[in-house]
């Protein structure tokens, strides 16, 4: 077996040193009934070639976005990733390192986390950011829990059309404790004295950008926090940063990270500096070493489970390290001009896609304003789910996400081509 370096001679020698005759003598503490007896239903080991063939066959059963007939977004976006990104994240020193518990030999990881936190803070217009969370949905759930800790209240308000899976995850986290609850309202005057926070997504699930001043005012009046969720982070190259918010969190997969059928992705979390001791997740901070030279460490660990145990702010003990690195490398390559340019290209492609689609009879846009995702309204009597399925089955087009009976969310990014837009418009016209 190629991953096992021990020789039989070495095993024998080691057993002699330990003073046992047989490896099973080392397992004497384990009850007999728990040992696997005889053959299992699992196959024996295979070589690389056999496995590559098998996995390639699985991969080839999927329609992938490289077909250029791909318009699905709804929280996960297909963007181009520069070659340097994958090259760097596959460097052994990054790929096969552990969480930086020994900072003297983990400055590489720690410094890029510090740079990651800086990028997130700059993009979101917030004062500080953590070293990432699992994904956008859990980041939003953690934001809700943090708002409840800060305000000592237990009611959450969903203020607009938020990604439904984000709401489901938040609901799952909330119902762990009796007394927690949430309401849904788009009216800022409806929030009450026991509201811990209002959560607004922008662009919302239907692709519409929002501003926050009414909500900010209402939150200030009631003492609630304002949480802004962003799941297309490229939008921050065109839209104003949510500086009014107390917490900004969401999904940063768009920069540097593959869609990968849902994960690993990159949750991010930024907030005002005064809340850092209530922030969930790992945080990297700057300090000095014994010679007075700059260095970085994981810090504020007194919030965390390995110190605080049941009183910790969260049970989290990892971040999405390597995805945060991919993001940081991609952001470094984009820089100020590249990032803004990327956002403009996304928006322009979406404008062109919108024009091509609304030329079809009976089709309209739910929102006139959008960034890179359109909410397309189908004619009466047409079902969004059926149309999406038909476009996939008959045309090999992944057209979008059926958000409700008559609405398909359709996305354009810098990858979208003229031919792709034409193919979608023609196919849609035919099936309607």
């Amino acid at each position: 077996m190629r991953y096992l370096p021990q020789t039989n001679a070495a095993r024998k020698e080691m057993m002699d040193s330990i003073g046992v005759k047989n490896v099973d003598d080392l397992f004497i503490q384990v009850p007999k009934k728990a040992f696997i007896k005889g053959k299992t239903n699992l196959p024996d080991h295979q070589g690389e070639l056999q496995i590559e063939r098998k996995m390639l066959a699985y991969a080839n059963q999927n329609i992938n976005a490289q077909s250029n007939r791909f318009f699905l977004g709804a929280g996960v976006y297909y963007h181009h990733v520069p070659s340097s990104v994958d090259y760097i994240i596959q460097r052994s020193e990054f790929l096969t390192a552990y969480t930086p518990y020994q900072p003297e030999i983990a400055q590489g990881t720690l410094q890029y986390l510090f740079e990651f936190q800086t990028f997130i803070a700059q993009l979101t217009g917030q004062e500080v950011a953590n070293a990432s969370l699992y994904d956008g949905a859990t980041a939003m759930a953690e934001a809700a829990l943090m708002a409840m800790r800060v305000t000592r209240r237990n009611k959450i308000c969903f203020g607009n059309d938020i990604h439904p899976q984000y709401c489901e995850v938040t609901e799952t986290y909330l119902k762990n404790n009796d007394g927690n609850s949430y309401t849904v309202t788009e009216d800022p005057s409806k929030i009450t004295d026991d509201t811990a926070c209002v959560i607004i997504q922008s662009p919302d699930f239907y692709g519409k950008p929002h501003s926050y001043s009414d909500w900010r005012k209402a939150c200030d009046e009631k003492g609630a926090l304002l949480v802004v969720v962003i799941n297309e982070i490229v939008s921050l190259g065109m839209l104003a940063p949510p500086t009014e918010a107390d917490i900004v969190c969401g999904e940063a997969q768009s920069i540097g990270v593959a869609m990968s059928y849902g994960g690993p992705h990159l949750g991010f979390f930024a907030c005002r500096e005064k809340f850092i001791r209530q922030m969930p997740g790992r945080v990297c901070g700057e300090t000095v070493d014994a010679d007075g030279n700059r260095g970085f460490v994981l810090t504020l660990s007194t919030r965390e489970q390995h110190i605080r145990r049941e009183k910790a702010t969260s049970n989290i003990c990892t971040n999405q390290g390597l995805c945060a690195l991919a993001f940081t490398v991609h952001m470094a390559l984009l820089g100020e001009n590249g990032f803004k340019q990327l956002a403009v290209l996304n928006h322009e492609r979406a404008c062109e896609l919108a024009d091509a689609l609304i030329a079809i009879d009976g089709v309209s846009l739910k929102n006139q304003h959008f960034f890179n995702e359109l909410a397309l309204q189908l004619p009466q009597g047409k079902n969004a789910g059926d149309i999406v399925q038909q476009l996939a089955d008959d045309y090999g087009i992944i057209a979008g996400y059926p958000a409700d009976d008559r609405t398909i969310l359709i996305t354009a990014t810098e990858i979208t081509t003229d031919n792709g837009i034409k193919a979608l418009a023609n196919a849609l016209q035919e099936v309607l």
Binding site: Y3, L4, E13, S17, I18, D25, Q29, T40, P43, I51, E52, M55, I88, S92, E93, F94, L95, A97, Y98, P100, E104, I105, A106, F114, A121, L123, V128, T138, V169, T172, N176, P209, M238, A240, E251, M259, G262, G263, P264, I276, T287, D289, A290, V297, T299, R309, K311, T318, N319, G321, V329, A332, L333, L334, G338, F339, V344, L345, H347, E348
Partner: protein
Amino acid sequence: MTNLAPLNDNIEDTMEINDRTRGLNYDETLLFEKEFTDTPGVDLPAAKGIKSRTGQKTREKIGIHQVSEPQVVRHFVRLSTKNYSIDSGFFPLGSCTMKHNPRINEKVARLPGFAHVHPLQPASTVQGALAVMYELQNWLAELTNLPGVCLTPSAGAHGELAGVMTIRKAHQEQGNGHKNIMLVPDSAHGTNPATAAMCGFDIRVIPTKETGRVTVEAFKEALGDGKDVAGMMVTNPNTCGLFETDIAEIVDLLHQAGGYFYCDGANFNALVGKIRPGDFGVDVMHINLHKTFSTPHGGGGPGSGPICVAESLKPYIPSPIVVKDGDDYRLEQDGERPTSCGRLKGYQGQFGMHVRALTYMMSHGADGLKQVSEDAVLNANYIHAMLKDDFHAPFEGPVMHEALFTEKYQKENGVTTLDIAKGLIEYGMHPMTVYFPLVVNGAMLIEPTETESKEELDRFIAVMKKLASDARNGETEKFHNYPVSAPVRRLDELKAAREPKLRYKKDAA
């Protein structure tokens, strides 16, 4: 040649020469401290000038730094040289299972049919991805003998959350919602009590101090009449590297009281392919794919922490799971299993990690995985046997896949666990896990894994013996200075926490 500009005599004054860069040791500035270039490290097509339809004022200045591609590549490559990794050497971090990360896993996960598929595509267009998840569910069920598998949790701690929520939901559905106490031994990972608290449980601690194990007596005392006890969270083998010998009797008592046994799967590498947790009474267990099944730790993630549960808990696990209808695979639909404790993550889990783990399982097969646990346990016992004269071993062997020592002997000469850890760095090795578990003073938890040869183990043993001998000889001062050869010296963690500086700011630079 006469046209060359004269060399600036003052170049050393105008350019700062960094005295920390020598030979192959680089001092590397922050990205943001490099010269701002005119053009970025990407070339994108020009915009067409289409009028904005965002309905909002377009953001003008963001304030992001800008450098070229060669500068970016060099920056990150230089940073990488400051990291220790499993590919560079022995990494005996206890409870973390730092084993070899095969590259075929990376190659397969990057196939366009896996990397470039979207989680919300119609099921008919992702049958291969669903088949991978279904096959992984089956492997895990078979290896644990726990038939219900949910792959969505993103990491070990997230798996714990999934498992404890499953227990909570089961009690609620069965009319036992009053059960609000979770039993947790004092040797447990911090995530165990933190998770139980997140799920609204009160924690009752089971003391393990004297034997390193949960005894029937200590368990009975913690259980009391058991009326309010929802379950017990135990790592087995435990964090002292020992198998819980009384587990069968303890689990019987727990089950009689109507509690569930949550087993923390952090130490599954000691059992995989040889022993099945479902056969020693486990009701629910998370599996760290990034430990036992070799997906890379990536400097702290992404991980993946699926849970496996007994038949009795199957109705309550988080959704969605992958189901097979005839020849077709699909995800459970929303609300399809109303008893589910809910959705825990966007989409269906860290799929890229599922691909890697399945690739690894197929590489080893049933035969190879059995050898994995046997070699992991043999290696740990070898270290335990070879070092127990030099370092205090608080508990008798045989141990499972990790060996626990303490600083007791060295402390007499003023040398602590931290000093020994930093000494290992000085000798070019990654330290073991230190000061965990908390049940002994100055713990050193060593997990060699199965992917180390005897030669590598002997090198580590030799260094540890040298450190022990230096401590015996009273070379205390030397220890307090370690490390001197690492990219940085010991860091001031107190300052980092007292004056938090969590991002770069131009003014502050």
